[in-house]
Assembly symmetry: C2
DNA sequence: TTCTATGCAAACGATTTGCAGGGAG
DNA sequence: CTCCCTGCAAATCGTTTGCATAGAA
């Protein structure tokens, strides 16, 4: 992957190596800040803004994708680990969904209105099994 | 509606009257800032924060609902004009959808995982007919 | 009179940007 | 040697909050 960067004319630096490693190590659903914290354990001088800029660069290369889980917080993951998300507004639980949950809806919407839904960029929101009961 | 406020133990003030009128007059999908601007035409001393606080109060009473249309901007509308939204990430176009678009998906998700989707709080994102073509 | 609602300014959280210096190629 | 990348500080955007006062009931 780092070689891929170099091939794309992007420079490979210590900060970028750190971001890539942190991403590979991460269980999914990491925020930029969480990544920055984890990186700071070993490289305290990697600045938050660099993490953002690196994530941005990786995203433009197509190897990283971000998802909005609701108010504010966006999470990042490797593109090849792509899947859809549902977020509980009660407890914040993130449910991973198959890539096809919206299949029929997407198809019908496109056929009828021409609108092409991007099911990955924003999570579905709602209430998980537990929180749904105590509303 | 204003009487409803009074009945709920909430005070009816000039600012609140203005917000309610602006909401009623508005074609859907108004941001808090847009409301504040429109109100400022006639009552320049109604502060943005008051608009936010009033919308919040109206929302707690159940007569107003807000929807997140993507990055940042939230839009408000009267609860009885409720419907689902799809937003184009290319041009910002807001498509109004019936209340049932996600019906099957919602049902299946709840049956299989217990997750109850709230299809109103966040819009579906994607690309409208026109923007979908030039990607 | 009482206590909620308001204006103002300042704080907020997540992210972005301008700048001058540092380091990859 | 050239430019991209970085750290830092400051700016941004949408929204919220603390405060002392105006005003609804």
């Amino acid at each position: 992957m780092l070689e891929g960067l170099r091939a794309a004319g992007v420079r490979v630096t210590a900060a970028r190596r750190a971001v890539v490693h942190a991403l590979v190590d991460a269980d999914d659903h990491v925020t930029a800040d969480e990544l920055a914290e984890r990186i700071a354990d070993r490289q305290p001088d990697v600045h938050r803004s660099t993490v953002y800029r690196t994530l941005d660069a990786l995203e433009r290369l197509g190897v990283v994708t971000h998802v909005h889980l609701g108010h504010g917080r966006a999470v990042y993951h490797l593109t090849d680990r792509m899947h859809q998300h549902a977020v509980c507004e009660g407890c914040g639980l993130v449910v991973e969904l198959g890539d096809d949950v919206l299949g029929e809806v997407q198809a019908r919407l496109e056929r009828e209105t021409g609108f092409v839904v991007d099911p990955h960029h924003f999570a579905l929101v709602g209430r998980c099994r537990h929180c749904a009961q105590r509303v």
